[in-house]
């Protein structure tokens, strides 16, 4: 598989697309016991780690069809595409040598080598299913463990470069679409409450990224002193609570500012269908409103997977790779607008009646 074949597929089954929760991700940090951590290892040691990990991982039955990408061999656009697909972190995309990533054929899992830790194993699923994601990654981790000697201590658990990851070395995150909480300026309140429970809120691409398209990534911060299932149970409870608040905020918005919202959604749809220049930020905002329109029943439910795909395909790396050679911002914005025009032209008209007549408590019966 090459980067160009990778982008021809939509990644892990987008059909599971549901309201409010975009995707579930779990990553495990693992280190080899006989080497310094990547940040302290010498170049020769990092090369050794990379070779050893690559050879060993290729022997794991479920990874036989996976593709290994060495960071040195990738262009900046290729790396950007992997970041936009959440297959690698921004940190790994910035590292210049002796690091790489193994990407499963389904793109539902990837293993970064020589990021902050020797291995960062991750599972990515659409929708909201922490338990299933944990079962999958646990099995994969055990298969890898049967072939590699991880650094582990009875007392401190899996040993990681940063003590914030010690213990389970597990970071579980869920990407949430919270337009109503964002419009009603309640996100800060949510962030504060979530922080007090030992969880963190980040933007679409992790640390330091903005809340583009009203997407928020919520994950556990603490890793030691609790089992994986306890961490996931607590995180799940927080997420269900956030979903409930988003549903309430949507209902309130539709009651108090229905016309204003119908106008916002209508304009977003109109622009996506007719514009000839769209920046990445603009398109994320309009697509976010389109996703909300699907959740509200203004577009058929099966439109949601298309919207999710367009979120990914309209990002800078995915646009850049379609344009041969050097391209300027205008060319990219032009290409992005034509892509979105074409994709949204096939959609039916927005059903505004549903918003006029519906009792909003019926739109989200019992939340998710």
């Amino acid at each position: 598989m090459t980067i160009s074949t990778l982008i021809k597929t939509g990644g892990e089954n987008l059909q599971d697309s549901i309201p409010i929760v975009l995707s579930t991700r779990i990553r495990l940090a693992r280190n080899l016991c006989d080497y310094p951590f990547p940040g302290w290892a010498k170049v020769a040691q990092k090369c050794e780690i990379l070779t050893h990990a690559r050879e060993t991982l290729s022997q794991v039955p479920t990874l036989k069809t996976a593709t290994f990408f060495n960071m040195e061999d990738l262009s900046e656009t290729d790396k950007l595409i992997l970041v936009e697909r959440h297959l690698i972190s921004r940190e790994l995309s910035e590292s210049s040598h002796s690091s790489g990533v193994l990407v499963a054929k389904s793109q539902g899992s990837s293993i970064m080598v020589n990021e902050e830790d020797h291995l960062r194993i991750q599972i990515l699923r659409n929708g909201f299913d922490l338990d299933k994601a944990w079962r999958t990654i646990n099995t994969l981790d055990s298969r890898i463990e049967s072939k590699l000697d991880f650094a582990f201590s009875d007392e401190l658990g899996y040993l990681t470069a940063c003590p914030t990851n010690l213990g389970t070395a597990m970071r579980a995150s869920v990407m949430m679409h919270l337009p109503a909480l964002n419009y009603t300026n309640q996100v800060d309140k949510v962030i504060r409450a979530v922080n007090q429970l030992g969880m963190v809120v980040r933007g679409l691409f992790g640390e330091g990224s903005d809340a583009i398209g009203h997407f928020f990534q919520i994950s556990n911060q603490q890793t030691l002193g609790e089992s994986e299932s306890e961490i996931l149970r607590r995180l799940s409870k927080v997420l269900v609570e956030i979903v409930r608040h988003e549903c309430n905020a949507r209902m309130l918005l539709m009651e108090s500012e229905r016309i204003k919202f119908m106008d916002k959604i209508g304009r977003a749809f109109g622009i996506l269908r007719n514009s000839h220049m769209l920046t990445s930020k603009e398109s994320m905002g309009f697509l976010s409103l389109l996703r909300l329109a699907v959740d509200l029943g203004m577009l058929p439910d099966d439109t949601r997977p298309l919207v999710d795909r367009l979120f990914m395909e309209s990002q800078p790396g995915h646009i850049q790779v379609q344009l041969s050679g050097e391209s300027g911002t205008d060319q990219r914005d032009f290409y992005r607008a034509s892509l979105l025009r074409k994709a949204t032209s096939k959609l039916p008209q927005l059903n505004f009646d549903i918003l006029r007549d519906q009792e909003f408590t019926k739109l989200f019966p019992g939340g998710l």
Binding site: P36, F37, L156, G157, P163, R192, L224
Partner: protein
């Protein structure tokens, strides 16, 4: 325009503002560009944890002079990077780590997944002997609850070799 806040370490204007909330305790640090870089606080490098958890207005104390016997990583390196050098650093820096871990996590003892296959390879015999000692100790102290837990752990290890202790055994 935001009000001018002074750096906690010098008189320059603070441009980096760190807020951490751990166990409901809010900790705020304001730093100027230079001090932030010196303390290892930057968007690229992440956060120097030692500085983050020390009192910013008080004496942060000198590095302890500890160094990892395996990789040579020093306490000063940890203060700059907020990351360790190698897995053995956790043994070398055990004494200075306790408070940091208590602030950072709900507990200081691992309660999650145990890599059984790995431990099997890395010397199940050694682990078995240690558990056996602990079991004898618990029995001699009449701590039967602990003894039962240790027996179960021993059984887990021994079940693979068919040597598990069964309730009727030894009567």
């Amino acid at each position: 325009m935001a009000e001018n806040i002074k750096c906690d370490y010098c008189d320059n204007q603070a441009t980096v503002h760190l807020t951490t909330i751990i166990n409901n305790e809010v900790n705020k640090i304001d730093l100027c560009e230079d001090c932030a870089q010196q303390k290892g606080v930057s968007s690229n490098q992440g956060i120097s944890l030692n500085d983050m958890f020390s009192n910013p207005t008080g004496d942060t104390g000198a590095a302890s002079g500890l160094a990892c016997k395996v990789c040579g990583f020093t306490h000063a390196d940890f203060r700059t990077n907020g990351r360790f050098g190698c897995p053995s650093c956790y043994t070398s820096f055990r004494t200075i780590l306790q408070d940091t871990l208590e602030n950072m996590h709900p507990g200081t003892h691992h309660l999650g997944k145990v890599p059984d296959q790995l431990l099997g390879r890395m010397g199940s015999k050694d682990r078995e002997l240690r558990l056996q000692d602990a079991l004898h100790q618990a029995i001699s102290e009449e701590n039967y609850e602990e003894a039962a837990k240790l027996r179960d752990k021993l059984n887990e290890i021994r079940s693979s070799t068919g040597l598990a202790i069964t309730p009727g055994q030894g009567k």
